[in-house]
């Protein structure tokens, strides 16, 4: 017998040992679609998630060039607040996304008072004679400080802020390079830091260090891809824009010449109009694609967005020529995506379906829950389908088989789905139509 599990099953049950919970949550930062700040904040939250295992407060320094700079400080301001936070975190079934949302709310509410206090703490990162907390990073060693007030190696300014006698400094290392440091303490419960705590925290530090490292690599890679794509793009855009402009100029010149017969005048004006339409379309598509950053995903009700796309004049104009089907499972859940991008994604899929399908064909939109925790929105058509070599290039910018295509629709969709941690899947056979499936994270409606 073979049993299959997807990666959602790596989310542990609540009764799992606390240590495992902690490591499981922190290691998820590698594949969650959130910003570096959001993901690191989750790591700090996990480290401070309550009595038993875990600390009361966690402070994060990040390496910037040759300096180590205070970034975030997470923890309750009082015993009362501590109780509140620990209660939220021990809600059964709480997942990564909930922790991110909880953190964002908390940071908003407290205007991040703790973090503000450490933002102007800056240390030189490479010096051998640095003071604590920077000393841990310089030596690449974990340092447990007790009786801090009597210890001359502790920076006094730092001590004034943290105001505890006992704390733990964990450098964040990857490839033997220091990327940051975490300082942990038990300011509220005053529990001494034990060997078990140190082991666990050092493991978390390794994971967080490697996460920061891989996030940096990922960013560099994206930048490189962008530069390469820019060259391609400049070429393509020159071509796509110059051609309609030449046509508009040329036919306009003819209009200016005396003695052009009436039927040709009309034809020229029609061509000019069409070419201007085309320019507009190009500019619209470019605008979409070039959006520097997409809006953050949120849980939203997709029903009104889907209706507005289906009721848009462009879709309504196509409808009579096709057999159009829309089947959405009762009780639409809330989907995790930016609502505007979601609408644009659906619109792009429908445009492609209509383009590929001759009039009389069928275009269907379906929405349903999968058992493995995804919500699927699919667009299927009965059009010409996609050849195998083309399938590999579908999501590359500027890949198009249409005379007036831009090849930016599917790359845009890919970007949106990456941003919200979803997926796109394509199935198609030549002549057998195409099926595009979008997988979204979802939550039942509130």
């Amino acid at each position: 017998m073979i049993e299959k599990f997807d990666f959602k099953s790596s989310e542990l049950e609540r009764d799992a040992p606390k240590e495992m919970m902690l490591l499981s949550i922190i290691s998820q930062s590698f594949f969650q679609p959130f910003s570096l700040e959001d993901n690191l904040l989750v790591t700090l939250t996990a480290l401070t998630s309550g009595s038993g295992v875990g600390f009361n407060r966690a402070m994060l320094f990040l390496r910037e060039g040759d300096r180590l700079k205070g970034e975030m400080w997470l923890g309750p301001g009082s015993a009362q607040e501590a109780g509140d936070i620990w209660e939220v975190l021990s809600t059964p079934g709480i997942g990564y996304i909930e922790i991110v949302e909880h953190n964002r709310a908390l940071v908003r509410k407290n205007e991040d008072t703790l973090s503000r206090r450490i933002r102007d703490l800056v240390y030189a990162a490479g010096e051998g004679n640095a003071l604590i907390p920077a000393l841990a990073s310089c030596r690449k060693e974990i340092l447990l400080v007790k009786g801090a007030r009597e210890e001359p190696l502790v920076d006094r300014r730092f001590l004034d802020i943290i105001q505890v006698d006992e704390f733990l400094c964990i450098p964040l290392l990857a490839r033997d390079e220091v990327l940051g440091e975490i300082v942990l303490d038990n300011a509220i419960t005053r529990t001494p830091i034990g060997p078990g705590d140190i082991k666990l925290a050092s493991l978390c530090g390794l994971i967080a260090g490697n996460y920061i490292y891989s996030a940096g690599l990922h960013r560099k890679l994206l930048d490189m891809e962008k530069t390469a794509a820019m060259g391609e793009m400049a070429m393509f855009v020159t071509h796509q824009i110059r051609n309609p402009i030449v046509a508009i100029g040329g036919f306009a010149d003819q209009l200016l010449q005396p003695g052009l017969p009436e039927d040709k005048r009309e034809r020229n004006i029609r061509i000019i109009r069409e070419e201007i339409h085309r320019l507009e379309h190009i500019i619209f598509q470019m605008g979409h694609f070039l959006k520097v950053s997409l809006k953050e995903p949120v849980y939203f009700d997709p029903a009104p967005v889907i209706s507005s796309v289906l009721d848009s004049p462009e879709v309504q104009a196509k409808k009579p020529a096709y057999e159009m089907r829309v089947e959405l499972e009762d009780g639409l859940p809330r989907l995790f995506c930016d609502p505007t991008s979601f609408g644009e994604v659906l619109r792009n899929l429908l445009d492609n379906a209509f383009d590929a399908t001759p009039p009389g064909g069928r275009v269907s939109v379906r929405g349903y829950r999968k058992t493995n925790g995804w919500y699927v929105l699919s667009v299927r058509d009965t059009g010409k389908g996609i050849t195998n070599p083309d399938k590999d290039r579908l999501f590359k910018p500027f890949f198009t088989t249409k005379e007036k295509g831009m090849g930016l629709g599917l790359p845009f969709i890919k970007r949106v789905m990456d941003t919200c941690g979803g997926q796109v899947e394509v199935r198609s056979r030549v002549g057998g139509g195409a099926l595009f499936k979008l997988y979204f994270q979802y939550r039942e409606g509130e």
């Binding site: 070429m235 051609n243 030449v246 046509a247 100029g249 040329g250 036919f251 010149d253 088989t401 005379e403």
Partner: protein
């Protein structure tokens, strides 16, 4: 007899524009929209000059030139394209002129006259 021009241009409005404007100059113009049709036309009829785009679906203009060089070295070729950058591609040196498409056809017309009067 009028001089005969073979025009290869995949964009339909542009194809129409060039065809009309070059006919007005007194040339016999045969317009085709891809490289394969161009090779076919070349086998059938004699031409005095070829005007071709570079980026086209299917065989592109550079492949077309390569094919033509293999058969008929005597027909002058003008590249007429939206791209400035292909000038650096050494195969385009094989062409007799390189014109960047512009909304005024004066440069193209002048190059054609020059090459045909030679």
């Amino acid at each position: 007899m009028n001089k005969r021009i073979l025009l290869v241009e995949d964009e339909k409005p542009l194809c129409l524009l060039y065809e009309e404007e070059l006919s007005k100059e007194g040339y016999d113009v045969t317009a085709v929209t891809d490289a394969d049709a161009a090779l076919e036309a070349l086998d059938k009829d004699p031409f005095d000059l070829i005007v071709t785009d570079i980026r086209m679906p299917g065989k592109d203009g550079i492949e077309l030139i390569t094919h033509i060089m293999g058969r008929r070295r005597d027909i002058p070729i003008i590249i007429n394209t939206a791209y400035q950058s292909y000038k650096e591609d050494f195969m385009t040196w094989a062409a007799d002129a390189y014109v960047v498409k512009s909304s005024s056809l004066d440069e193209l017309k002048a190059k054609i006259r020059q090459l045909l009067d030679r």
